[in-house]
Symmetry: C2
Subunit: 177 residues, 2 copies
C-alpha cells in the first residue's frame, strides 16, 4: 500500500500481499476491473487518476500476473486489461473492504450484490453466500445492482454504464459518444 517500497522485515503473508496491492489506487483499479472496465481510458475517466500513475499501476499489475494485457483489435492496435485467476482471487478482499466501508462509513447502499442465476433480490451474505440458495456464489455469477443513493446522472460514461445492473467481470459497454 502505500509506497513502492516493501515491508522488508515482515514474515507475513498479509505484508506480502500489501506489497503488491497496497499502493495507492491499486485496489481501485482492480475493483474497476471486476466492474468490467478494461481500457486505459475508461480507468482514467472513472477513477480520476493521474495518467502516469495509471500507466504505472497497470504495468505493475500485469507484471504481477493480476491483470493480463491482451490485444483485442489490430487496426488500430488496441489492448485491454483483463483480470487473471490470480486477480479474480482478490475478490474476497474487495468484498470485505466494501462491507466494512458500508457498515461503518456510509449510510445508504450505493450498490448491492446478488446471485444472478437464482432469481433472488436479496443481497449476498457476509461471506458471499446467496441467502436464497445457500451456495457461495462464484464471482462470475455475482450481479452488481446500483442502489438508489447513487448519482443518477454522472459525468463520465463509465459511471453511466454502471447505472444498469450487470454481472461482474463482463466487459463494460460504454455508450458511443
Amino acid at each position: 500500500m502505500a509506497l513502492g517500497k516493501d515491508y522488508a522485515t515482515q514474515e507475513c503473508s498479509i505484508a506480502r500481499a500489501l506489497e503488491i496491492v497496497g499502493e495507492r489506487w491499486t485496489l481501485l483499479v482492480v475493483r474497476d476491473a471486476f466492474y468490467g472496465v478494461r481500457r486505459y481510458n475508461d480507468f482514467l475517466v472513472h477513477l480520476g487518476i493521474p495518467r502516469a500513475v495509471l500507466a504505472a499501476r497497470l504495468q505493475a499489475l500485469t507484471a504481477e500476473g493480476i491483470l493480463d494485457k491482451r490485444r483485442y483489435q489490430e487496426s488500430p492496435p488496441r489492448d485491454e486489461y483483463v483480470l487473471t485467476d490470480r486477480g479474480v482471487a482478490l475478490w474476497p478482499v474487495l468484498r470485505a473492504l466494501g462491507l466494512w466501508g458500508r457498515d461503518y462509513l456510509d449510510k445508504p447502499d450505493l450498490r448491492i450484490l446478488r446471485h444472478a442465476g437464482c432469481g433472488t433480490e436479496e443481497e449476498l451474505g457476509s461471506y458471499g453466500e446467496c441467502p436464497a440458495c445457500g451456495t457461495v456464489v462464484p464471482v462470475s455469477d455475482v450481479e452488481l445492482v446500483p442502489g438508489p443513493a447513487l448519482d443518477q446522472d454522472p459525468a463520465d460514461p463509465v459511471s453511466r454504464a454502471l447505472l444498469k445492473p450487470k454481472r461482474l467481470l463482463q466487459p463494460l459497454e460504454t455508450e458511443p459518444v
Copy 2:
C-alpha cells in the same frame, strides 16, 4: 492505501474504506493489534516503521474509532492502543489478504489460524469457519499458531513472543529484557 489524500470522485464504500485504512503501514498496524500488540514501542520494533509515521497512524486510527487509546497505568503514565468494535470488524479484510498472499505468493505456511475452543488442529476455512464444528469462529476464539517456516530466533521481542500460540486480541506478553 496509499496517501493521505482521498479518492474524491468515488461513490463507493470500497474507496471510503481505503481512504481510512489504505495508507502505507495502516493495515499492518491493525494486524499487529489483532496479534495482541498494544504499546507504541512494540509496534515500533515489530514493524520497523519510522517513529513519526507510527505516531501519525496511531493518532489517525484512534481518531477514526478503530483503535482506543487508554491509560493502563498512572505512574509513570502509560497508554495502550486497543482495537474497538469497528477495528475488530476489519478482521475479514486481513484474513482475505492473508489467504490471498499465502495462496499466491508464499509457499509454506508462516502462521495458521484455528478454532481455540474446539480442540481441532485444522485450519480455518476460507470464510473463517471451523472445519471441525462448522461455526464461523468469532475473532476472540481464533488461535494464532506459528508455522515451521517462521524464523525461530527473531531479533525483536515481539516476534519472539509470537512464536508461542496465542489467541487473537489477547495482550502480548513480551519477556522482560
